[in-house]
């Protein structure tokens, strides 16, 4: 079944995200990436996943896979409260604009990113921003790790339950343990 956008009217295509049907897919992409970056929006600080917040899972992911982290909006404050310092604080459109530039040297100045993982942005903002990258950043792969289908990412979950989301996130984080 072709997945539907979470907000029903936000139809995209012809080019649409492939569905992450099992965590191994995301895991393999992250493993394969040389310079991944994780862009975390403010909603990651609000979503409860069991007894933790989404942002806590993302910190685990970033640490264990050594992914550079960009905190958009005021998400940085929540990271710092957890003793985790993101690599950059930038607005979502600003980081996207840079990711679309193949000559940009990345958040650490060491070279262009080849994979951008988005999570925790307002749905429609992620939709439009990922659309920008879909069309104008052919050098970049994108993954959405929200539990809703983001058709403009290269890879996205379909609309999945919180339970499945937690399972997937845990698995991705776990798989990356070295």
């Amino acid at each position: 079944m072709s997945p539907e956008s979470w907000l029903t009217a936000e139809v995209a295509g012809p080019k649409k995200a492939s569905v992450i049907t099992k965590p191994e897919i995301a895991d393999a992409m992250i493993k394969r990436a040389k310079r991944p970056v994780l862009v975390v929006g403010n909603i990651a600080t609000e979503i409860d996943l069991e007894d933790r917040k989404l942002i806590d899972y993302l910190i685990d992911l970033a640490k264990r896979c050594q992914i550079k982290v960009v905190a958009t909006a005021h998400t940085n404050a929540a990271f710092l409260e957890r003793d985790f310092a993101p690599d950059a604080v930038m607005s979502a459109v600003d980081i996207a604009n840079r990711l679309a530039d193949p000559d940009w040297k990345g958040v650490d100045g060491e070279g262009a990113h080849d994979l951008a993982i988005f999570v925790g942005l307002p749905y429609q903002m992620a939709w439009t921003i990922l659309s920008g990258l879909k069309h104008f950043a052919p050098h970049l792969k994108t993954i959405s790790l929200d539990n809703v289908y983001q058709p403009n990412a290269r890879w996205s979950f379909s609309n999945i339950s919180i339970k499945d989301w937690i399972m997937n996130l845990k698995s991705i984080i776990g798989n990356q343990e070295t």
Partner: protein, 782 residues
């Protein structure tokens, strides 16, 4: 421009009456002897006359495109798939297509204000005559029409003079619209330049509309102490007959109030309004009551309170008639642009129309005569009110709960809600008798009823929300300072210096629509924050209403706390959407009244001045409409940045600077002709913020300008750093880009900042007399 004007100038004429010297007269054109200012290079600029300036801006602030659709379906070659680097059948690229859509939106916006202005001016001329003088501010205002003077190079003195300005605006919009035809402009930057042109024209037309209505209707004339008027559902005395007006073009509402006045009914009827007509009628009479922004339409109509609805133009729900029919409220359409499918009864006697409304044989009428509308609306309301039968659905809490029990938890409502509100959970709780969650949803609900459209159980979700929040609605009663109109020259003289030197940290204009991502309260909080920080806060339209619909612990609205003066710490409501021209006008007047630059037909130089020196930022937190797009475009062409909320990414592109591209941030030093690095100030021209916290930090940052003195820059940095620390939790990572010399460093943070500068390998630079225009470097700057 191609006008058919006749100009005759005769140096000497021998006649039978004697000799006449220096006779000049003109037909259809303004005579400008009284204005001695020399004409600048670009009076009545064509659609490419300012292309050079546009490209200067667009080189720094490149579009970042976020296509809202992968396809183009504009012509029968399509649909064309433009994904990635594919081109359409006509050859257009995805970036070209996005810019084209932006241009279309800007044209729609500019056309809307221009047509509004045209209708208004024509009506006012028919009522007051074309010689009615323009007087938007009495003795307080000498530069009565800064946008018109700047763009057109003329100085309008009467209502009749505005017609030529509108001729020009209409001609330009026509040409811009033509550029969007298949096979015309496809270069993204040329399209963007045309977007900026549309925006500039929009501000001219808005100015026409507002100075015309201020002058003819005697609205507040640049009055910082304009009356405090009532706003909110709860401010309405529902015991009285109630008239509701919706829209933007005020003559029908004015005629309603005049009819009441002439018939000694002024205290007997409530005239209430939604959207900018409400704002403008409250400028005409402080007795008028404002219900709220656009999002209040459904909830107010469904409340059954209004006895008659009069709509004019713009931002009116197109299903207003359907909703009104359910409540048996008659509707009068008054604009040729919005006939609602109703029969034209302009020539029918008022008695007949009133009778048809009362006996229910007609549920609406299209009437193109404001005076007649005034009479009919008042008489109908008076006769219907005593027999008003409220049709509120659901009728009681119990009935609402029963309705909620039909919910199957399919989640389609939430998936239709633009703000992704947790409706299914709230409905479930409501069905169990707990209205709390649903009442919380009210705070962030934009009243679009998309949820209801999606619900297959036909649950009146929005009505349940307002039912759950009934107490909140009843409690909505606040004070709003009526739109004051323009900014006085004397105010500009007083703040011009501190603004240009950076000692007033900025002008923040909260404008635009009410498509808020998280409720209106956020906007009020932002306005209060910046007023407390002694920025000059300006506002207009729906944003101005929203700021008023907020109370502090003492029950006071921001307008009761902060002065309406254009000064540090003021909250200045200029008026309706068309009053936005006074905000751009204030920036322009800083260049002319304070800095004594020539305005006349001198757009590029003035925009360069504003961009480099006037620390102004527009915030359109709930921008929704095409008018918002054109209003923003007009600010961009003046080099004034605009911040939108997250929904603003749907405008399809941002105009973003790259702070990491050092080469982008050089200006000419007018004193030496040298090119000087000034840092990314302002960093972006059009940018979306994700949250109000991020927006506030951006506002402070985007107020910095190359011309800031060290004292000014230190102050601006203090606000930026303080907000960044408080809201984002740390020192900003880019301080080194904004410190030019040691004296720019805020004294209280000296050591910490010096350490950061050291780490970043910061080097001192000079503070230039900044300009982006190469040829200006030889001229002396004030």
């Amino acid at each position: 421009m191609g006008t058919k004007d006749i100009n005759i100038s005769i140096k000497e004429l021998e006649t039978e009456l004697g000799q006449i010297r220096d006779l000049k007269f003109s037909v259809g054109r303004l005579v400008q002897e009284s204005w001695t200012e020399p004409q600048g290079p670009t009076p009545f600029p064509s659609i490419t006359a300012l292309r050079g300036w546009d490209m200067t801006l667009l080189k720094r602030y490149r579009p970042f495109y976020m296509p809202f659709c992968d396809l183009c379906c504009l012509c029968t070659f399509g649909k064309c798939d433009l994904t990635g680097d594919k081109k359409g059948a006509c050859g257009i690229t995805m970036s070209g297509q996005q810019s084209r859509i932006v241009l279309l939106a800007a044209c729609i916006g500019a056309a809307t204000h221009t047509s509004h202005a045209r209708e208004l001016v024509t009506h006012l001329i028919s009522e007051f005559g074309e010689d009615e003088p323009l007087d938007p501010g009495g003795l307080s205002i000498e530069v009565e029409a800064p946008n018109i003077r700047l763009v057109c190079g003329v100085k309008p003195e009467t209502l009749g003079d505005l017609e030529q300005v509108l001729d020009y605006a209409e001609e330009q919009i026509n040409a811009l619209l033509a550029s969007t035809h298949t096979g015309q402009e496809g270069n993204p930057l040329d399209l963007e330049s045309k977007v900026l042109h549309a925006g500039m024209i929009d501000h001219v037309s808005m100015e026409v509309a507002d100075i015309a209505q201020i002058s003819a209707y005697r609205l507040p004339k640049a009055d910082p102490e304009a009356a405090l008027v009532d706003i909110g559902f709860g401010a309405v005395d529902t015991e009285k007959p109630v008239i509701l007006v919706i829209g933007h073009n005020v003559p029908p509402a004015v005629e309603i109030m005049d009819f009441m006045q002439d018939n000694d009914l002024a205290g007997d009827i409530e005239v209430t309004g939604i959207c900018c007509t409400a704002i403008d009628m409250s400028r005409y009479s402080p007795r008028a009551k404002i219900i709220g922004p656009i999002s209040w339409q459904i909830r107010y109509i469904r409340s059954g309170i209004p006895d008659i609805i009069v709509v004019d133009e713009q931002c009116i729900r197109t299903d207003v008639l359907d909703e009104a029919r359910l409540q048996k409220i008659p509707v009068i359409a008054t604009s040729e642009k919005n006939c609602l499918g109703l029969p034209d009864r302009t020539r029918d006697p008022a008695d007949a129309i009133v009778a048809d409304f009362i006996n229910g044989s007609a549920d609406g009428a299209f009437i193109l005569d404001p005076e007649k509308v005034g009479e009919i609306a008042v008489r109908t309301a008076m006769q219907i009110a005593p027999h008003r039968k409220r049709q509120k659905v659901p009728r009681s809490l119990e009935e609402g709960i029963e309705e909620a029990k039909k919910c199957t938890q399919c989640r389609l409502c939430r998936r239709a809600c633009p703000n992704d509100l947790h409706i299914p959970d709230a409905i479930k709780a409501f069905a169990r008798g707990d209205p709390g969650m649903l009442s919380d949803i009210y705070d962030s609900c934009v009243g679009c009823i998309r949820c209801e459209q999606a619900c297959q159980q036909d649950i009146k979700i929005h009505s349940l929300i307002t039912l759950a929040a009934e107490g909140k609605l009843r409690d909505e009663s606040f004070k709003l300072r009526a739109g004051r109109g323009a900014i006085q020259d004397i105010e500009i003289r007083q703040v011009g210096g501190p603004i240009v030197l950076g000692e007033i940290p900025g002008i923040v204009a909260f404008v635009g629509c009410a498509n808020y991502p998280g409720g209106g309260q956020e906007l009020a909080e932002m306005a209060i924050e910046f007023a407390n920080r002694r920025y000059i806060v300006c506002t207009s339209g729906c944003a101005a209403m929203t700021i008023g619909m907020y109370r502090n612990e003492d029950g006071k609205s921001p307008y009761e706390i902060y002065p309406g003066n254009f000064e540090a710490g003021g909250i200045v409501n200029v008026g309706s959407c068309v009053s936005n021209a006074h905000i751009s006008g204030a920036a322009i007047k800083i260049a002319s009244v304070f800095a004594r630059r020539n305005l006349r037909g001198n757009y590029q130089e003035i925009a360069d001045y504003v961009h480099n020196r006037v620390g102004a930022v527009g915030v359109a937190w709930g921008a929704m409409s095409q008018k918002a797009a054109s209003i923003a475009s007009g600010f961009w062409r003046l080099g004034i940045p605009v911040i939108v909320g997250p929904h603003g990414t749907k405008y399809r592109r941002m105009l973003l600077g790259r702070s990491d591209h050092e080469e982008d941030w050089y200006v000419y030093d007018a004193r030496t002709g040298e090119e000087v690095y000034v840092g990314p100030v302002p960093e972006h021209l059009f940018v979306a913020a994700e949250t109000k916290e991020e927006a506030m930090v951006m506002i402070a940052k985007l107020c910095m300008r190359p011309n800031d003195t060290s004292r000014g820059r230190a102050l601006k940095l203090t606000h930026y750093i303080d907000l960044h620390r408080r809201l984002i939790g740390a020192m900003p990572g880019d301080i080194h880009r904004f410190v030019r010399t040691g004296a720019d460093i805020p004294i209280t943070m000296k050591e910490e900042i010096l350490r950061i500068l050291d780490e970043k390998g910061w080097k001192e630079t000079v503070i230039p007399d900044p300009t982006l225009i190469a040829r200006q470097k030889t001229e002396q700057q004030p």
